[in-house]
Symmetry: C2
Subunit: 292 residues, 2 copies
């Protein structure tokens, strides 16, 4: 099957390489051309525009940064919509607003083109290893068309509802993470201020109700005040912005997610946007008089 990729960043580059190595005929475009050269050895062929990618592909996968980027590569000059044949399928794996997703799908449908939203979790490591979790919104039949290539990118593929639902599911994921990260950050800071042995305490807590992936995998970073990637603060802040917009549209009140987004905006403004998201602990540490 002929598969196109638009966007070859840390995530998209690794995903395109995985699809090509699995035997799909992969054509790709990226704003920065050197990213295309980087995956040529994996069998990915470059194209001159998103339109050219679409013209060479039955399924076009998008993996770009935010809502305006998806709109630009779909409907901008020499965008996917300029080159795509009726009957093709667009799979947007970026994390963007659910409402914009429904709008883009409607505009593609006018040209006879189907769309899935399929944002992922699992980060750069999951992209490299092909172990992403993929939340899919759209028609079940379209998911079945895309499934063979999605299975080269991720290990858990969940159809969560109609178009836009994948983005809403991703938003829920980021909201749960906001509370969990802040809870663990506050706990670790209290433990440090109270003079406890943090490492031993985390081991003791891990068998009980406080257990979480964040406690097991990120509390050490918060204690050491070192935040290698991971998943960038700036991206989690962007995703929480999407979640809070969805919350406004649907009438959900999310106080902790709102606080987390505000604290992360401060971190981005202080040049900590490229830290791992566990760096929300910097703020709790600083508020408590610890180096942050």
């Amino acid at each position: 099957m002929k598969v196109g990729f638009v966007g070859l960043g840390t995530m998209g580059g690794a995903m395109a390489a995985n699809a090509a190595r699995a035997g799909f005929e992969v054509t790709a475009w990226n704003r920065t051309v050197s990213r295309v050269d980087a995956v040529a050895a994996d069998g990915v062929r470059g194209a001159e525009s998103p339109a050219a990618v679409a013209g060479a592909s039955e399924i076009v996968i998008l993996m770009v940064s935010d809502t305006p980027d998806v709109e630009a590569v779909l409907f901008g000059s020499r965008g996917v919509a300029d080159g795509i044949a009726a009957g093709s399928l667009v799979v947007d794996m970026s994390t963007i607003a659910p409402s914009a997703t429904r709008d883009f799908a409607a505009r593609l449908a006018e040209r006879g083109v189907a769309m899935l939203d399929a944002p992922v979790s699992g980060g750069s490591e999951g992209a490299r290893k092909g172990t992403l979790s993929i939340f899919v919104g759209g028609a079940a039949a379209d998911l079945e068309r895309a499934r063979p290539v999605l299975e080269t990118l991720g290990t858990t593929i969940t159809h969560v509802g109609p178009i836009g639902s994948g983005q809403a599911a991703k938003a829920v994921n980021q909201v749960i993470l906001a509370g969990t990260y802040l809870g663990v950050a506050e706990g670790i800071v209290l433990a440090m201020k109270a003079g406890l042995d943090v490492e031993q305490l985390v081991a003791a807590l891990s068998g009980g109700a406080a257990q979480s992936w964040v406690l097991a995998n990120r509390s050490g970073r918060m204690h050491e005040n070192e935040y290698p990637l991971g998943f960038k603060v700036a991206l989690h802040r962007k995703d929480l912005g999407i979640a809070l917009q969805l919350a406004r549209e649907t009438g959900a009140a999310l106080p902790v997610a709102a606080i987390c987004e505000a604290l992360e905006a401060g971190l981005v403004g202080r040049d900590h946007g490229d830290d791992d998201v566990s760096a929300v602990a910097r703020v709790i540490r600083e508020l408590s008089g610890l180096p942050g």
Copy 2:
């Protein structure tokens, strides 16, 4: 070994019964006498006062509600201090303030009596099954004296530091839970408002970074708006009050724990204090126009 229990509530009653069934000679006192009768068949003998329990025991275990209760059963009229022999050991398994714990230990030390603080997590189910997690503060040698009986009460016994450290560790546990419960509650409410299939979504999220004991075991309650015990809102609120007091004393700033304590105080005031702590979701649901 002769072991005394002061306080036979849901937790203490089950714990005294476990110790007696394991072969310890258990003497117990409770404010409400019927609670003593309830564990007589397990081999627990009643005594007329905390002083009488102490007179009959080498190790006296306290399991009462809050800091003033511990002070009353230790130093009030016919309290433990009136009957205890020098060389004995008090093990306070209640959840109370770390600073008061250090004060009580100092006052007992004047009488030649050692003390451990050993609060637990694992709830009423853990107390019944003898699978509690126990966070122990105090001298290592005193823990070794108490270990045989503690091993009949819990499966994880962690020595976290000097006297008061067990209470501080428990406080950290409750702070982490505050963020995790609110994060999951906000995520579930957003999922409901966005029309997602919550059960399927929770399954999809459970393989990733949002994974936690709370997500796995309490998100269903939040979705159904049913909050059977579990661990009472009123007790988590009390414990967060202790944690926030410790935070004030040590200079830790815990914004999410403070919000959670405030929301729980509201639930207690509206007769939801006996719900499971997952009922913090009631507040997020109500703020978002869902039945709460």
